[in-house]
């Protein structure tokens, strides 16, 4: 039974989870740092507990404190959201040991997918195509030798990496040598592990991912794909579903590969397999995210499945109520992430939001973390809101998104809204010819 869920997260995703819990009649416990005491998500929950100072190690990453609050509140389950402890295998294990249901896959699965090299091995075993590269972590000397073999440009990656940290495309031996040390150091600082590996850089690639749902009885389905090629600093900015580039045949093949991967892994709950797709529609495993994703709403909009509800039901031990053939895609959905940052340099822009006003309408869904007269602090991710549009066709969705962006008002701080407006009015974007280098090629190069 799940009667009360502690949400081990903040911002828009905490608010999003609370909304579904309310509809299901499940009570919620919010936890918050001193920096978030006025955040809208805190008051939305049935009860609130202060974690401590703003720093993540003393707040949203503080496992001991979170578990002691969970016990005090009488919660029976913990939803980790995304980021923070959501892909921390130790957290999942401790939750279980202490008698809480962790709303996500098992600790063991999180651990195996968190190690990018181990993940590549498992995918290979499952018959899922992987990007050509190294099967083990490499030293700088080995990296140079292997790069000569597979040919530049190559992608240098941290084995424990994520969020684009410790990752760099390099075009020459000299660049590789300097990038190796820098990225290894950064990975050691951020993830406590400086091991590196190499992959061939797939040029003109699209980032396309498959949403999965797997219950604890061996049933696995996919909810089609999301196209997430528009990225800045290796982080997504605009996501949509379906992907307008891939054929129905590729879509089926990717869905099947993702389900097979989850089966091999013994995966449970919601998860996403990210792929790179080249211009010939060859697809390669990139990584698996063992949690709900920021961009999950676009999938919800085209399938009418509430992914948070599915997560809770699966965690309770329920069987999936739907089979693969029952799931139909309907229409087109696009999400734009609103970041508190300079639209040109992408530097963070914390500060006081004097006015926050979102567009409303039948085709608009807002997920927000802020309000008017609200201080955006420098302690956490710069994403302050998501704007999601649903329409019958992609063309209509893009046009409605453009209109909605013009109505979107955030005053007092800088946001990426000017950048989003430029992207959605770009011809290449409108044609759906987006690759992961879109922002470099069509946005930054113009200014």
């Amino acid at each position: 039974m799940i009667e009360k869920i502690l949400i081990a997260n903040r911002g828009e995703i905490a608010a999003r989870i609370i909304r579904t819990c309310r509809r299901l009649g499940v009570k919620t416990t919010a936890i918050y740092s001193e920096a978030d005491k006025d955040a809208p998500f805190v008051q939305m929950a049935d009860e609130q507990f202060l974690l401590g100072p703003p720093r993540v190690n003393e707040s949203y990453m503080n496992i001991d404190k979170i578990l002691s609050i969970a016990k005090e509140s009488g919660a029976d389950a913990i939803h980790p959201g995304y980021g923070f402890l959501s892909e921390n295998a130790q957290f999942a294990a401790v939750c279980k040991q202490e008698g809480f249901i962790f709303i996500g896959p098992t600790s063991e699965v999180i651990h195996r997918m968190g190690d990018k090299i181990e993940a590549r091995k498992i995918m290979k075993q499952a018959g899922v195509p992987i990007v050509p590269g190294t099967n083990e972590t490499v030293s700088e000397k080995e990296a140079v030798e292997i790069a000569d073999e597979i040919g530049y440009p190559v992608m240098l990656k941290a084995a424990a990496g994520g969020g684009g940290i410790g990752m760099q495309v390099v075009h020459s031996k000299e660049e590789l040598q300097s990038a190796f040390e820098n990225n290894s150091k950064r990975a050691l600082t951020f993830f406590g592990n400086g091991s590196m590996f190499l992959e061939k850089n797939i040029e003109h690639a699209r980032h396309v991912e498959i949403q999965l749902l797997a219950d604890e009885h061996g049933n696995i389905i996919h909810l089609f794909e999301r196209e997430c090629s528009i990225q800045r600093r290796n982080q997504k900015v605009i996501e949509e579903a379906p992907c307008s580039f891939i054929s129905e045949k590729t879509r089926r093949k990717m869905g099947k590969a993702a389900v097979q991967a989850a089966k091999t892994l013994g995966y449970t709950n919601a998860g996403t397999i990210e792929f790179l797709v080249d211009h010939e529609e060859n697809f390669y495993f990139l990584e698996m995210n063992t949690r709900i994703q920021v961009e999950h709403p676009v999938t919800e909009e085209i399938t009418e499945i509430d992914i948070v509800e599915a997560q809770i039901r699966i965690a309770k031990g329920e069987k999936l109520r739907i089979q693969q053939d029952d799931i139909k895609m309907q229409g087109h959905a696009i999400e734009a992430r609103i970041y508190a940052e300079d639209p040109i340099t992408f530097f963070p822009s914390p500060g006081l939001i004097t006015k926050f006003q979102v567009p409303e309408g039948n085709h608009i869904r807002n997920e927000t973390a802020v309000k008017s007269n609200y201080q955006v602090t420098p302690f956490y991710d710069p994403m302050i809101a998501k704007l999601i549009i649903k329409a019958d066709t992609r063309e209509e969705a893009v046009s409605l998104l453009t209109e909605a962006l013009h109505q979107y008002k955030v005053e007092g701080i800088k946001t990426n809204i000017p950048m989003l407006k430029k992207i959605v009015t770009n011809k290449v974007f409108q044609m759906g010819s987006t690759t992961t280098s879109f922002i470099d090629e069509y946005y930054l190069s113009r200014d």
Partner: protein, 71 residues
């Protein structure tokens, strides 16, 4: 001539790249701030010698706060 190096935004001091008494060139990074999960280098606007470092690694600084003084 003294010049103050100021934080361009609020954040915490992730790394200090120089020592007191060290000679620095214009454009050289003095400290690296971390704000909203991003690292932001704060460079010297003039060449000179680091007279004083006003922050330590891990400190929180507000926008416009003085980080270092260059002489």
């Amino acid at each position: 001539m003294m010049q103050e190096v100021k934080a361009s935004m609020a954040g915490s001091v992730w790394k200090i790249a120089v020592n007191e008494g060290e000679k620095v060139e214009e454009g050289q990074d003095i400290v690296i701030l971390e704000s909203m999960k991003m690292e932001i280098p704060i460079p010297a606007e003039t060449s000179g010698t680091i007279k004083e470092l006003k922050v330590s690694e891990g400190d929180f600084v507000n926008e416009e706060e003085v980080i270092a003084v260059i002489e």
